[in-house]
Symmetry: C2
Subunit: 637 residues, 2 copies
């Protein structure tokens, strides 16, 4: 073993070359904002080429448009028609969820997909109104204006909020702050989506049971009280019959589609449209609307009117719109980016998150001027789009054209569509948002994540969508902060026959070195944990000494800190290390530092900590530290 | 080298025994809230002994009181008299800083030190009003009520805020949330204190120059405008003469005290009282107050009146008080705990932060009922206390008794004390808060810390104390969050002649292994960075491949991730790793994982990631991973 140690001892702990502040700063900026190195293709290119690249960057359609062909078009047309049949009934339902008239849902499926088709870089995403954002927007708007008595103001605020949602999204992308949406953890999103799905489904009880007086709150307690409270007025059995029958049909279609994903994906995709047609015919023939079955009644004919004059850009009205827009825009962004990333990974192409945000933002800004409310990528429709074999964003264009035709010609046909069928369609759609498999995996793998997940879920279900979102973000942040405040520490032992030292809890075969206490700190040592780390190490020492006194073992003469996981240290951390050193000196225990990283060793030197403990107390590995500190002891190992 | 590798390969990556959720949770709770293991002494003790220990814990006076003796008393009396002579003029000045009448400063040096003497565990801290908290409280209160025209309400709110400051402090300690104050980093405190000192000094220009109309804002721009604006009305030269003469005297005393700390520490300590006496005599003899020199005029005689009836416990008034109290209480706490820790480390005794908070909170709650405003430990007086040889909190009692005597007998003597001398005393006192040495060290060691420091400094100087505080907290949090969002990654190379692999930037002698890319990730892989980490690793790979194509080197067949610094992983992180694996498979690159920690390996297993990549791709060290992945390559190394 002596030979081995000699051979490795030729290397000393390395001091990285000192970088200037500017270099350091530029590097930090680059990794934070330009981690994906977006300017690389432009390097060493003539000006004209750079311009072309820039245009293609802004409008990816120019890129894929060049080798677009008939086979691709075929795929896109089929996919576009499929998602159109799915989106039309969903749009009408989601508009109601946002407390808007049904045509606004269709409007929102016309302009935004066209904009995205030119600017977006995801090939699989299907753009339009989505359930969660509709619910969230509707709830936030409703806090300000009543959607029935203050219809005008409500709508004006909706477009203003949509505009600012677009501004927020584009600004985040433009300022390359896209990483901010990463602060909503996967677990929190799973919980939030699940809670939102339950909330949305509960809201549908109104249409499903034909209840007339319904609460405006979205929490489960208020809704259930509304439902039971309306029992005495009688639920409408015809409505319930239609609703349950078609819900059963939709669920069956969903089941079939899930069973045979490859061949029968189109079954659940067109089932809603079929249901709408059948139910509408049924109501028209039986005149069930005379028997209390609520129907859509009227959808404005014609394509999107301009809404530029409805948006307010200043004043307290705009401030309200801004606040609502930021929240709705962020949630919409999270959903779109998650979908985009998922499908990009499946088809193995790169997606530029920041670029994507600019596209989505532009789309919502233009949408807000053409009577659309906040749109984003829809989970369910994107999946159908992908399964139906879309190749480019042209499928969105096809869908958009179908929606346009519907608006121009077919809206009168929806007059007799019963609300119950829309409720059934929404219920069956949002069921897909409840990802219990993901929740189970989270439970299995990470209990803290599961708490975040459940916090968001119950927050949404029992209070409101906003509170649930707040809970989700807070728990996500707490999750980052907690480990930095109370980092793990571990005692290391020697793996017999090697120079390797590992956590004795993880490696039960590892043997503690008598007289030497080896502690590993599992975190950067910052102001937030410096005191804790110091105290914790001293506690390890105290416990060790107590045990030794009890068992008559040799006293601890050396304390070695394995710095491998200590990625950084700040002035508070160094101060704590100095205090630790002083405390150890009083106890006559020597301190050794093993494997400090580049940043850490540099800072320790600058703060003269290395001078304090002595250069020779710095070791390349724990193994060398044991040999270096306690040559006698190590020979016995 | 083959032998060596065989000997270490007998060990496999360890899987820690699975702990139950309850164990995990209890452990986490314990480390977060009871890191100092406060119940240890109570273990296995009879009930009566436990009670005695509990009482002694609550009232440390019972502990040290048992072996208190004459020699200790002597030290305490000398220290107590010294800090009393320092605190009396400071108290009067600080009360003005808080926009209160001068006697309230003296009141606050009477009751709180007595309470602390019984409950506090720091032996060196000197309790009373301090400059920064006085300024902060005064500024916050002034936002609500005018201290001149709404004197009654202002004072009532001051006591209410003080009460809630005490409640906040005691609650934090009682709930063992003391670690929350650690979220204000050392660097931010240095900047904040420096900024507050400048602000306070600037405020003194009013008294120093004898200006009558002075701004209520504390930012440097407003103050300077006030100062220049008053030039035309004429500054009072008599005031300026007194002020400058005594400021020079005080600064000289400070300088002497600093030069010979051991023998002459008492010079700067009693200089203020001497100045007050001399200046008061001077004004009395020359009747300078007739010539525009502003004087204190009147200090209420007698000890603290009760103020219980002035505190509001409910309603919007209480809400205001609560808000102000929380902020002032937290800042006061930060200062007291910092002082307590400093001196505890110097004399090597343990300080229980949470216990200390309960003591400070109780002190402020009782103080608020006896006409005191928020008090805490004073930097300058605690240092004098320590230098003067205090032994226990009895020095605070001595100081308190002197203040009581002053209140009962001496207050009429302060009638002719010029305000200018108080301003000089405050200026010379707050100069000690500007710790440019610490700021320089921070600049040298950690540039990000320096930004936090300067942010807090300029925030206080150019806007207000509250904004500065907010900046300080925000930058502190950003500092924790940023590395978790954009963690460092490093390429590793082999140290010639060993099996050790290290960062090639830190160890220029380290040699990259051809055909194998070894990346170390320097952070837990969480939702906030999982995408970045994945993309960054793929970027390393892409850059490597480009370089190889250019230089005709063998292609990369293996990617090894050194997980040593990866202290944790969550479901998003595992998801990213799975995507990375898929991406590598498409590129026909094999993935190996080296040295995953206990928590990480357990989660990887639960999420079936290990099954996915194969158990044999898990290695104890990077060295073994290189041998295991690429046996041919490693023979050449």
């Amino acid at each position: 073993m002596a030979n081995q140690s000699d051979s490795s001892c030729v290397h000393k702990v390395g001091f990285p070359p000192r970088r200037s502040l500017a270099t350091d700063f530029t590097r930090g900026l680059k990794e934070t904002f330009f981690a994906d190195d977006p300017l690389r293709p432009y390097k060493d290119q003539p000006r004209s080429k750079q311009l072309a690249l820039g245009l293609r960057f802004l409008f990816p359609a120019l890129e894929w448009g060049r080798d677009y062909n008939l086979s691709k078009l075929k795929g896109d047309i089929i996919a576009g028609l499929t998602i159109a049949s799915l989106c039309i009934p969903q749009d009408i339902g989601y508009a109601k969820l946002a407390n808007m008239d049904p045509q606004y849902g269709l409007y929102s499926s016309f302009v935004p997909p066209l904009v995205y088709a030119v600017m977006g870089s995801s090939r699989d995403i299907a753009i339009g109104p989505v359930a969660v954002v509709s619910l969230l927007l509707g709830a936030l708007l409703q806090n300000e204006f009543d959607p029935v008595t203050q219809k005008e103001e409500f709508r004006r605020l909706a477009f203003t909020a949509t505009f600012f949602a677009g501004v927020t999204q584009a600004a985040l992308g433009f300022l390359r702050l896209g990483f901010l949406i990463d602060f909503l953890s996967h677990a929190a999103i799973v919980g939030f989506m699940g809670g939102a799905a339950i909330t949305i489904a509960l809201q549908q009880l109104k249409g499903f049971l034909g209840i007339k007086k319904f609460t405006k709150n979205t929490d489960i307690v208020s809704v259930m009280r509304s439902v039971w409270g309306s029992v005495e007025h009688g639920w409408n059995w015809q409505t319930m019959l239609i609703g349950s029958a078609f819900l059963a049909f939709l669920l069956a279609a969903r089941y079939i589609g899930k069973k045979k994903k490859q061949q029968l994906f189109w079954v659940p995709a067109i089932a809603p449209l079929i249901s709408v047609i059948l139910a509408t015919l049924l109501v028209y023939v039986t005149r069930a609307d005379k028997h209390g079955v609520q129907i859509v009644k009227k959808i404005e004919k014609g394509i999107n009117p301009s809404s530029v004059d409805q948006i307010r850009f200043a004043g307290s009205f705009a401030a309200k719109g801004f606040r609502i827009g930021v929240v709705a825009g962020m949630v919409a962004l999270t959903e779109a980016v998650a979908i985009g990333r998922t499908f990009a990974a499946m088809k193995d192409y790169q997606l530029d998150g920041n670029k994507e945000m600019v596209a989505l933002g532009t789309m919502n800004m233009l949408g807000s001027m053409t009577s659309c409310y906040v749109t984003t990528g829809s989970f369910s429709r994107s999946a159908v789009n992908y399964m139906a074999g879309c190749r480019t964003t042209v499928s969105n264009v096809v869908m958009s054209l179908v929606v346009m035709l519907t608006l121009l010609v077919l809206t009168p046909l929806f007059e007799y569509t019963p609300n119950a069928i829309l409720s059934s369609i929404i219920i069956s759609a949002v069921l897909g948002l409840i990802d219990y498999e993901a929740a189970y995996l989270i439970w299995k793998v990470d209990r803290f994540d599961f708490m975040a997940c459940m916090g968001a879920f119950f927050g949404v279900v029992f209070t409101s969508v906003e509170i649930g979102l707040l809970v989700a973000v807070s728990i996500s942040l707490a999750k980052i902060l907690l480990p930095v405040t109370r980092p793990r520490t571990a005692l290391l032992g020697n793996l017999p026959g090697t120079l390797i030292y590992r956590n004795v809890e993880q490696y039960p075969e590892a043997i503690r070195v008598p007289g030497v206490l080896i502690v590993r700190v599992d975190s950067a040592i910052y102001f937030s944990n410096s005191n804790y780390v110091k105290e914790r190490i001293l506690r390890w020492l105290r416990e060790e000494e107590e045990q030794q006194n009890a068992n008559d073992l040799p006293r601890v003469d050396f304390l070695i800190i394995d710095m491998s996981p200590v990625t950084d240290v700040d002035t508070s951390g160094i101060h704590a290390l100095k205090e630790l050193h002083r405390g150890l000196q009083k106890r006559d225990v020597q301190l050794g530092i093993a494997n400090p990283g580049a940043v850490v060793v540099e800072k320790l030197r600058l703060a003269e900590f290395i001078e304090l403990i002595g250069q020779e107390k710095l070791f390349l590995t724990v193994g060398e530290a044991v040999i270096g500190c306690a040559p006698k002891v190590s020979e016995d190992v």
